[in-house]
Amino acid sequence: MAGDYALRGLAVPESLDRLHELFERVRTDWPDIDEVDLSMFETAIVEIHGNVVEHGHPPGQVIYAFELEVHPDRIVGVLADTGSAVPDLSSIDEGLPDDLAENGRGLWLAKATLDELDYVRVGDRNTWRLVRNRTGATTRA
């Protein structure tokens, strides 16, 4: 049975706290989820949402919606936002910046923590789909 969680609001720095609080609820509701799986999924969504908060247009007015499902074999999240611009995805393919660079790792890190990361722009919405397979899922099935 999937566990469903949803958030919606303005993409502002404070919304990161709401995302973290959602993951605290997931931890409580699903104590058997491997902590690495959940914390890496949390890392990915915070990076992508942080990108929306920092670069979304118009600043402070972008609305986001996040939904999370916990399945026996995977964790699936969908993050949509009303930002008017297509995000710069080049860092995902370009790889990591120099060791002493102070930024440019966020989306790459999000991709590295997941099994699937897809982005599409449909109409006036940016939509990200995140999937992380759960550790040990095949042995439990």
């Binding site: 720095p13 973290h20 914390s39 890496m40 890392t43 920092e54 060791d99 102070e102 790792r105 890190l109």
Partner: protein, 111 residues
């Protein structure tokens, strides 16, 4: 996130972070490190044992602090790395640049 600053052996600054080191907290950490270096204490230990979560902004603040301290002939070392922080460091290949020390005392070894 809270930042508690203390001093060891007179001129080694220990910054103990409590909470989440994300894009909200990172500018404050960067500012605190800058201030510590400006005070004439470029040898800094950042204790992450109470940091439950770090994102790439937090990583950026640590890198900025590392550069700032080295420019002043000091260094920045980390300790108390939790699972999520360790994995973020490994995935970004920065575990060699920001090497985790097992304790504050070990981090200050040689200073």
């Amino acid at each position: 996130m809270e930042i508690e600053k203390s001093y060891q052996d007179g001129d080694v600054a220990v910054l103990r972070l409590v909470g989440r080191l994300n894009m909200v907290a990172a500018p404050r950490l960067k500012s605190d490190i800058d201030q510590t270096v400006a005070e004439g204490r470029p040898r800094i230990v950042v204790d992450l044992s109470e940091v439950s979560f770090m994102d790439s902004s937090g990583l950026g603040a640590l890198i900025a602090g590392l550069k700032k301290s080295r420019q002043a002939s000091g260094d920045l070392r980390i300790t108390g790395v939790t699972q999520q922080v360790a994995t973020v460091l490994q995935l970004t290949n920065l575990d060699k640049v920001l090497r985790a020390h097992p304790s504050v005392e070990a981090a200050t070894d040689g200073w």
